[in-house]
């Protein structure tokens, strides 16, 4: 049963049918899914949600498909961890990590958006899917489309981390490494999408795809006992995730599932690629594109599609924006591993590093609830830390050698 009324331009409000469309023909604004919230309100109660399996489809009415979900049936519902060691270290009252580094099946939050994108792509009649990716999306599209039996073309910047290439190739897609940065890959893919009738998950079916990120926000609210945190720190690349978590909380409120959210949103980027942070700090209406130069490759988007909406989310919620250097990213990755046992990728280092900075600056108060969004797994970006974590102690296989080595 469908709860989609159609698509609607976020800028000028023009209506479009629920087809493979992504920008307004008139103003080029992004199209968004328009839901029948009246009917959703009747169908989706706390009791109903709690009765369903623990995956992202427990919020199915708020996701943009017409029929039954077909993909990512075990994705989502990742742990929300109480970070007691970091609380103690930083003198905080209530800190949580929403941990998508253990997302099924490809260890990043992209499994959420791909689950929705593929389910919708099939409904729209596509037999081939594609994407422009900084790595995590490549892994998830390659994986889930293999399971779904779809043809798959994946486009990445040629300098991507080896693990992200391996974790894509294993699913046997056509993997195209483009000589250029992500923004160049993305531009090329827009041109390809113009010519080939493929479902580019983050281009021509982006209105559906992007909705999957809302489930990250729904889960935080549900896992906190149907309440929202006072503060949430979110990594920003294209700016979609932060925008969609905010939308998710507002929808939950609209449906009467939670009280009015008073959550402040904080945008986190790497100093080597921080167009969203710059726009917030300079109070700018436009996003100035940059040429990325950071180890946080999964966040290295110099020309963020949802940048202005990410900035608006921060401003509307009275949050803030901050960036961290590559050195701070590595320190934060190590800290999260050594305190909470979570080995995150560089993007997670950005988020935790920024959280630390904002707490030190007094922008996030120590006595209120905070959620830090960890969206990817450290095994995929080992290059970033491999030379900064020491080496194993090599010994001969006898007791004397061991005791000599440790003393």
């Amino acid at each position: 049963m469908s709860y989609i009324k159609g698509l609607k331009c976020r800028e000028c409000g023009r209506h479009y049918p629920k087809e493979c469309l992504y920008v307004c023909e008139y103003c080029f604004g992004p199209l968004e899914v328009d839901y029948d919230y009246e009917r959703i309100k009747k169908a989706l109660t706390q009791k109903e949600i709690l009765s369903r399996p623990k995956n992202l489809w427990r919020y199915r009415e708020l996701l943009p498909i017409d029929g039954k979900p077909t993909d990512g049936l075990d994705s989502g519902f990742t742990p929300l961890i109480r970070a007691r060691n970091l609380e103690k270290l930083w003198g905080l009252k209530e800190l949580y990590i929403k941990d998508d580094s253990v997302s099924h099946p490809t260890l990043s939050f992209k499994d959420r958006v791909v689950a929705v994108a593929l389910s919708r792509a099939k409904e729209l009649g596509f037999d081939t899917v594609a994407c422009a990716s900084t790595g995590n999306l490549a892994n998830s599209v390659a994986c889930q489309s293999a399971v779904a039996g779809l043809k798959r073309y994946i486009f990445i910047p040629a300098d991507l981390e080896l693990s992200k290439i391996v974790a894509t190739l294993i699913y046997k897609p056509t993997l195209v490494a483009v000589e250029g940065n992500y923004d160049q890959v993305n531009r090329l893919c827009s041109e390809i999408a113009n010519k080939y009738k493929w479902a580019f998950v983050n281009i021509n079916i982006r209105p559906y795809y992007a909705e999957g990120s809302k489930t990250y926000g729904y889960e935080i609210a549900e896992q906190l006992g149907w309440r929202t945190p006072k503060h949430i720190v979110v990594p920003c690349a294209g700016g979609s995730l932060i925008t969609k978590i905010y939308k998710g909380l507002k929808e939950f409120y609209k449906l009467g599932l939670i009280d009015a959210p008073k959550t402040k949103f904080y945008a986190a980027q790497a100093t080597g690629c921080c167009p969203i942070i710059t726009a917030v700090k300079e109070n700018s209406e436009i996003i100035k594109p940059v040429k990325p130069n950071t180890i946080a490759k999964s966040l290295a988007i110099g020309n963020p599609a949802d940048g202005i909406y990410a900035v608006a989310t921060v401003k509307e919620t009275d949050g803030a924006a901050e960036s961290v250097t590559d050195e701070e990213i590595v320190e934060a990755i190590k800290l999260l591993a050594q305190t909470e046992g979570i080995f995150t990728e560089t993007a997670g280092g950005v988020t935790l590093g920024v959280a630390k900075k904002l707490i030190e600056q007094g922008k996030i108060p120590k006595d209120e609830s905070i959620v830090v969004c960890i969206t990817g797994n450290g095994l995929k970006t080992q290059e970033a830390v491999v030379d900064k974590i020491g080496k194993p102690i090599k010994i001969k296989p006898n007791l004397e050698a061991f005791e000599k080595a440790i003393n």
């Binding site: 103003c27 992004p30 949802d306």
Partner: protein, 91 residues
């Protein structure tokens, strides 16, 4: 001076379904003017009431974003390629 311009799907109704057209002009501004001459109505899709490029449109000259060049005054020469691309993509 012939400049090849790639037209995004949402504007191809105006170019009689052509994904690529050839126009004349010494810079991006002149290209937009010549596009309007050949395909009336296209300029108001690309530019707002003040004549500035709409914020959800990116223009590239030979694969480089004109915001890294000289915006709509980016100079063009014979054989250059211009791409008009919706900004909302990726991520």
């Amino acid at each position: 001076m012939a400049i090849k311009v790639r037209i995004p799907t949402p504007l191809q109704k105006l170019t009689k379904d052509k994904a690529e057209v050839e126009v004349q002009g010494k810079d991006v501004r002149e290209i937009i003017a010549d596009l309007e001459k050949n395909f009336p109505g296209i300029k108001e899709r690309l530019c707002d009431e003040k004549g500035a490029l709409r914020k959800f449109i990116n223009i590239y000259v030979n694969e480089e974003d004109i915001r890294f060049l000289k915006l709509d005054q980016t100079p063009l020469k014979d054989g250059d390629e211009v791409s008009i691309i919706p900004a909302i993509a990726g991520g």
